[in-house]
């Protein structure tokens, strides 16, 4: 471990770590492991999705055709852009550009909010068209039963994704506060880095959700 005496006295160094390097490595490994659990969490949903899509391909295609594709596409662009601003925020934090970090974090949060706004509009549309599963569900009779499974999966998958976005936004707000307060410095930028990992992960989940939910009906109709 590095014997740098300055690191030992860094205010961000917790008592049980030998140095900042060890602390940073532990935090990064912890976040990667957490993301592994997230992969398995969404993995369960993707398994359910795969099983039912292979059983009921026509119903899934028909149901997917009802998605608001322009909204999904816009949201995909919004999220990819937010990943870019996030990456730039991390970079700025590593080189110690405090104001730049705050700008990019703000941009990331704004894009995240835009995503949630568009998502809320979509939910409203689906609610109005009686595509929410349950007693009020309405769909072409030939596909009505199995389309319910599609929409159930749609709401749970996108709902959990949106919940992760909300948590991400909260995380970003904390990071913004920490940068503003001066906790985050060039020597101690790992909180932003690991928050960035989380943000990118949530984006990647959407990159899978978008084609699986919005685009499978395209070629069939």
């Amino acid at each position: 471990m590095s014997p740098d005496p300055a690191a030992h006295h860094h205010p961000a160094l917790a008592h049980h770590f030998a140095d900042l390097e060890q602390q940073k490595e532990a935090a990064a490994l912890g976040m990667w492991l957490f993301l592994v659990t997230e992969v398995l969490f969404f993995g369960g949903l993707f398994t359910v999705y795969s099983v039912y899509r292979s059983w009921y391909p026509e119903a899934f295609a028909a149901a997917s055709h009802e998605m608001v594709v322009w909204a999904g596409t816009t949201n995909t662009v919004v999220l990819i852009t937010s990943s870019l601003t996030m990456a730039l925020a991390v970079r700025a934090a590593q080189v110690g550009e405090r104001r730049v970090v705050m700008w990019f974090l703000a941009a990331t949060m704004l894009l995240g909010l835009a995503f949630l706004g568009i998502k809320a509009f979509e939910y409203y549309t689906e609610f109005a068209e009686h595509h929410v599963p349950g007693p009020g569900f309405a769909f072409e009779p030939a596909y009505a039963r199995h389309a319910q499974i599609f929409f159930s999966l749609y709401f749970v998958m996108t709902g959990l994704h949106a919940l992760h976005m909300l948590i991400g936004l909260g995380l970003m707000a904390v990071m913004f506060h920490w940068v503003w307060r001066g906790t985050i410095t060039r020597e101690y930028s790992s909180p932003i880095e690991i928050s960035g990992l989380y943000w990118h992960f949530v984006d990647i989940v959407w990159i899978f959700l978008f084609p699986l939910l919005y685009l499978i009906g395209r070629h069939a109709h």
Binding site: H16, E25, G30, L33, T37, Y52, P133, H146, S152, V156
Partner: protein, 539 residues
């Protein structure tokens, strides 16, 4: 001699006395004690239900409680024992206390997260207790759909939420252990110098991290189906209830290893310490833990041999299940071989270790009956299964837990318990356990289905034996409660190494200081090196 020993002036137990110093602590040792209190509570709640279940089954007709109540009792017994006792017991109590000390660290990598895990566990437990006191739940701990989603009228949602929330406690504890073992080892503590308890804790943590999210999403889908009438498993919309079983067992079979692997780790420590020699075939025992964790993820389908899965899927799951038997057998053989030419002490922890090896052998061998599909068809969903998994869970996990608790109790509390009472309790538990569960193998092969409130009269004799055994077992569990509590105040001072055992935890004071060691140790030897070169009292 012992009477001249004094507790160290400064240790983690006298580092603050207020309630806040406990509820806001970040010290892994205090958090371990918080878990100890909580899991003990849930153990006795779950145990009380078992007592009523066994009383009901003493007669063939349903006379003590109604069928509805009976169903709630076995459901809550399973939920409490599995999710709130067996899964957290060894990792969260002994693991929390020992992982940092055994690798020579001051604490776990994420102490705040560790405390948060305890609160998450408590919140999950409160949800489940809420479900219990407001009427209970009757789905069985397995929550099979469509019964749990469309048929049951009981408190499925709060219970499912309780399990969902508690799952995060397991995930975060597992994550904390993995990062700690990777990043926090003391200088010289290489992977192959680690005590075997850490290998098994590491393997357990891997399962927790990889498996628990799947049960989390599964119970969430059940809740969504129940509350919002979403369709995932309901045949009415084309859903498949067997898909639920696949998702459920993808976690819940590995969960069996979450429960028993830490106990295996404890047994490795006990056998080494009380034979005063290295564990025979250290690396085989270490890798057997990892092999069990990995293979454990590939065998879930053996819970569905009669549930309508294809013949070929059944065969694949069957052969994989047999493969898990091999590393388990390797462990048993290695523990036995460790005793060869040992200096074997018959102190209480060793009695538990011996009990574990015997009972785990029976539990493991009866597992072969279940992996053999032709026999499984007959015995699955009968008392044979009940007996089998209680041999693993109670005969294995609880024996390991109690053995470990007795072994490290002087380290945790700084004091010695009454050895004679402890030996008597261990013997009572062993006899009571076998009397309770061995007859269930027989009554199971006769065909008595599990989860039956009433049963044909010809099964009564075996059930009476089982109920009688349960009452002995219950007394056996109460005795350690008494003498361990008593020892906290009146026990003789233990000294830093009362068993003359090897391991970093025995090089620090009993109880250890808050930062575990006066200075971070440097490790120069393999685990279980004897003679121990550290000064200290030898009992």
């Amino acid at each position: 001699m012992a009477s001249s020993l004094l507790l160290p002036p400064r240790h983690y137990l006298n580092d603050g006395y207020g309630i806040k110093s406990w509820l806001l602590t970040r010290d892994h040792k205090r958090i371990a004690l918080l878990y100890l209190a909580a899991v003990t509570f849930f153990f006795f709640v779950g145990g009380a239900m078992a007592v009523v279940i066994r009383l009901e089954l003493a007669t063939p007709v349903g006379d003590l409680v109604s069928d509805e109540t009976y169903n709630k009792l076995f459901t809550m017994h399973g939920v409490m024992m599995v999710f709130f006792f067996l899964i957290p017991a060894i990792p969260s109590v002994l693991g929390n206390f020992l992982v940092p000390i055994m690798i020579g660290a001051k604490d776990l990598a994420f102490p705040k997260l560790n405390l948060a895990s305890w609160y998450i566990y408590i919140v999950g437990g409160l949800f489940t207790l809420y479900a219990l006191v407001t009427g209970g739940v009757d789905t069985g701990w397995t929550f099979y759909t469509p019964f749990s989603t469309v048929s049951s009228t009981t408190n499925v949602i709060p219970t499912a939420l309780g399990i969902f929330i508690t799952g995060f406690s397991s995930i975060l504890t597992g994550l904390n252990f993995i990062v700690t073992i990777h990043r926090m080892r003391a200088p010289g503590m290489t992977w192959f110098r680690m005590p075997l308890f850490l290998w098994s804790t590491y393997a357990t943590s891997l399962i927790n991290v990889l498996g628990t999210p799947v049960i989390a999403i599964t119970v969430l889908l059940v809740a969504a189906e129940r509350v919002f009438h979403f369709g995932f498993f309901d045949p009415k919309v084309g859903g498949d209830p067997v898909l639920f079983q696949h998702l459920f067992w993808f976690y819940s079979h590995p969960a069996v290893y979450i429960m028993v692997l830490p106990a295996m780790g404890v047994i490795s420590e006990l056998v080494a310490a009380f034979c005063r020699k290295q564990v025979y075939g250290y690396s085989f025992v270490a890798f057997a833990s990892i092999a069990i964790a990995v293979l454990g993820f590939l065998v879930w389908g053996h819970h569905m041999f009669v549930a309508g899965e294809s013949v070929y899927a059944a065969m694949v799951f069957s052969i994989l299940s047999f493969l898990v038997a091999v590393p388990s057998a390797v462990k048993v053989f290695n523990w036995t071989a460790t005793m060869y030419k040992g200096a074997i002490s018959w102190q209480t922890p060793m009695l538990y270790a011996i009990g574990f090896i015997g009972l785990f052998t029976i539990g493991g061998l009866t597992g072969l009956f279940l992996a053999a599909i032709g026999v499984d068809v007959h015995v699955t969903d009968t008392y044979f299964i009940v007996a089998h998994f209680h041999y693993i869970m109670v005969g294995g996990t609880i024996m390991g837990y109690l053995g470990g608790l007795h072994y490290w109790w002087p380290k945790i509390s700084g004091r010695l318990y009454n050895e004679w009472l402890a030996k008597i309790a261990a013997a009572i538990i062993f006899v009571g356990f076998n009397l309770t569960f061995f007859p269930q193998f027989i009554v199971g092969y006769l065909g008595m289905p599990r989860r039956y409130h009433a049963y044909p009269p010809e099964f009564q004799l075996l059930n009476v034996l089982s109920s009688a055994g349960a009452s002995i077992l219950g007394v056996g569990y109460l005795i350690p409660m008494v003498y361990l509590m008593w020892s906290l105040r009146y026990g003789r001072v233990a000294g830093s190494n009362p068993f003359g055992a090897s391991g970093l935890e025995w090089t620090t004071t009993s109880p250890p200081p808050t930062e575990n060691f006066s200075e971070i140790p440097t490790v120069t030897e393999d685990a279980y090196t004897y003679p121990v070169r550290v000064e200290g009292h030898v009992a």
